[in-house]
């Protein structure tokens, strides 16, 4: 804080190019187009090139797939928390359901992985949405508490009734044809999810979603059934989560109880907070940072989760806006100190 003085304040103004490129006229100038496209292109190309750059290190290629799986989950969390207003602490539930559905489709019905994964995402999404319908009237704390219990409950039930192979899980799930397919399927899914959802929340329906988040009574008073919209939101998020779970089951060729584990609930939240909530890109960036760190910490076992939690708390308290909003501010605005 070099220029910080008691009798001055920080003023933030939009850069000229930002203002100019907000309008349609941006198309008429290469400079404005470049300004608009650069960050997006950087993100897309960066993700698409990652497997190629790491082609010498199969281990880290696998990490990319894991990053993408967590990203899908985190995008779903971000969407649900910041656009629909439902904080779901039970990300593990979506992953678990997706993984089990995909594994069952593959092992019992013989559906090949590239077909069973999208199918599992849709079927899993429907299952999750139906199971969450009883709690949809809840909001805030109450939804968070109940959603936290879903994965725990699911794991207990599978254990108690010895369903789907009980504690052993379902073995022998077919993997992806090869590592490249695995990575590019996941990267494509992440890109589609990010840009698709960003478009989705800008449509009219996104307006209703944000209305549900900010003031659901008002939305209700407008004659709109908020439960339907909440269910739709949960469906979108759980499709993404189940997609992640289905991919994970094919990656590990196994679906089991550990897919309901805590990692899947805490990492997406941490990634969203670190990357910046409400941006939908933020969670991906968060995962890109946190998951490799987690791989480096793998030797330390459960310390990983402890580290996450500390990072999470730190970010919430000291930098609650997250990386992406911070970067966007730097990119779009300039700051200066002005005398009061």
């Amino acid at each position: 804080m070099s220029g910080s003085k008691a009798d001055s304040r920080k003023e933030r103004l939009d850069r000229g190019i930002k203002v100019r490129s907000d309008g349609v006229y941006a198309i008429s100038s290469w400079r404005e187009i470049t300004y608009l496209i650069t960050p997006r292109l950087l993100f897309i190309v960066g993700l698409a090139l990652a497997p190629l750059l790491l082609s010498g290190a199969p281990y880290w290629q696998r990490v990319i797939s894991i990053v993408c799986s967590y990203s899908l989950l985190a995008i779903g969390f971000d969407f649900l928390a910041n656009y629909v207003g439902l904080v779901s602490l039970g990300g593990g539930f979506y992953v678990g359901v997706g993984a089990y559905v995909a594994a069952l489709l593959n092992t019992s019905l013989g559906v090949p992985p590239l077909l069973s994964i999208p199918l599992a995402a849709i079927i899993g999404g429907v299952i999750c949405t139906i199971l969450f319908i009883p709690c949809l009237p809840l909001r805030g704390v109450y939804f968070a508490i109940v959603s936290l219990m879903y994965p725990l409950l699911a794991a207990r039930i599978i254990e108690a009734f010895d369903l789907f192979g009980g504690t052993d899980g379902i073995l022998g799930v077919d993997g992806f044809p090869n590592a490249w397919v695995e990575q590019y399927v996941l990267i494509l899914a992440v890109l589609v999810a990010v840009f698709g959802l960003r478009r989705f929340v800008e449509e009219d329906i996104g307006l209703v979603f944000r209305g549900v988040k900010d003031n659901d009574q008002a939305v209700k008073a407008s004659g709109i059934n908020i439960t339907v919209y909440k269910a739709l939101g949960v469906f979108v998020a759980s499709v993404l989560g189940c997609l992640a779970g289905a991919c994970l089951s094919s990656m590990y060729m196994w679906a089991g109880l550990s897919q309901f584990a805590l990692d899947f609930s805490i990492i997406p939240i941490a990634a969203t907070v670190v990357g910046g909530g409400g941006t939908l890109v933020g969670p991906v960036i968060g995962c890109l940072i946190l998951v490799p760190v987690s791989e480096l910490l793998r030797d330390f076992g459960s310390l990983r989760i402890a580290v996450y939690s500390v990072v999470l708390t730190g970010f919430i308290v000291f930098k609650s806006e997250g990386i992406i909003p911070y970067a966007a501010r730097k990119y779009e605005q300039f700051e200066r100190w002005v005398e009061i």
């Binding site: 928390a81 904080v87 602490l89 009883p134 709690c135 009237p137 809840l138 909001r139 805030g140 704390v141 109450y142 968070a144 508490i145 109940v146 936290l148 219990m149 725990l152 409950l153 207990r156 039930i157 254990e159 108690a160 805590l262 805490i266 939240i269 941490a270 907070v273 330390f300 076992g301 459960s302 310390l303 990983r304 989760i305 402890a306 996450y308 939690s309 500390v310 999470l312 708390t313 919430i316 308290v317 609650s320």
Partner: protein, 288 residues
């Protein structure tokens, strides 16, 4: 007969787990998701003080309680106070602190059945033909005593009344000169100590494991939701309801289903009576 006796014991245990959570929520509207972690932490601290530092049982329990209270207060003062009024951040931050404590303990070597607190008094006694060990009797007696003491504290002391005032109407309490931030710190400290007290009373029944942190959190939340968040009588009633329901399920169906009962109770309560059995005003608007 054993259903009634074990039902009572189980209910009092649940009430013990839940009372700290509901106190914190009632006073500062803060869902303290680190509750279960504080429970395990107290047990672990007691164990450390007893076996590593060499204090006697009572002293180490008291010191551990004090430490937990301080940790709770620090947690509020340093972290949670900054996110107050932002429910999403409150949940995430307190949950993250709880996870950090629990998983940190797990990493620090807290696993398996090696960490045990001894029962206060060994042996068992037969009540109406049912053999009950002394520790379980202690649970009931101390649990009831703790509730009674809490009731007296809240209704009979100035600090307690200030907390009650905060719980009823924070703004009105502030106009009467009650410092709401300080009270919230006090409430979190007391809530943490209650979690710790529950740990010291209940943990001799089993061993200190990380998983019980999650279990305690779930049970506390279940009891509080069924009873109506922030309502103390509701919490005790709900503890008895869930406690007996659990024992009945164990007898009729098997031990696996114990947790399922609590979750079903939550779901049913939330659908049928969203503000809980004894939920208070505003509550309905807040949650539905």
């Amino acid at each position: 007969m054993d259903i009634i006796i074990y039902g009572i014991i189980n209910s009092v245990s649940l009430a013990l787990m839940a009372v700290g959570f509901t106190l914190v929520y009632g006073v500062s509207r803060l869902p303290n998701f680190a509750h279960g972690a504080l429970y395990v932490l107290t047990g672990y601290l007691t164990w450390i003080l007893m076996n590593r530092v060499g204090l006697n049982y009572l002293l180490s329990a008291l010191v551990a309680l004090g430490l937990t209270g301080v940790i709770g207060a620090l947690m509020y003062q340093l972290v949670l106070i900054r996110v107050r009024g932002m429910p999403i951040s409150e949940i995430i931050a307190s949950y993250a602190i709880g996870l950090a404590i629990l998983e940190g303990l797990r990493w620090g070597g807290l696993k398996g059945g090696t960490f045990r607190l001894p029962p206060f008094v060994e042996g068992s006694v037969s009540i109406f033909g049912v053999s009950v060990d002394y520790q379980r009797i202690f649970v009931v007696v101390l649990g009831a005593g703790l509730m009674g003491a809490l009731l007296l504290f809240v209704n009979g002391t100035k600090l307690g009344l200030a907390l009650k005032g905060m719980a009823q109407d924070e703004r009105a309490a502030m106009t009467l000169g009650i410092d709401s931030d300080r009270m919230a710190v006090v409430a979190t400290a007391i809530g943490s100590m209650l979690a710790g007290a529950a740990a010291i009373i209940l943990l001799p029944l089993g061993s200190i494991v990380v998983e019980s942190g999650y279990h305690v959190l779930i049970m506390a939340v279940a009891v509080c939701i069924v009873g109506g968040l922030g309502s103390w009588t509701g919490a005790v009633m709900a503890a008895f309801l869930i406690g007996f329901a659990q024992i009945l399920t164990v007898v009729l169906f098997g031990a696996h289903f114990q947790v399922v009962v609590a979750l079903l109770a939550i779901v049913v309560t939330l659908i049928a009576r969203p503000s809980g059995l004894f939920g208070r005003q505003k509550e309905l608007e807040e949650r539905v």
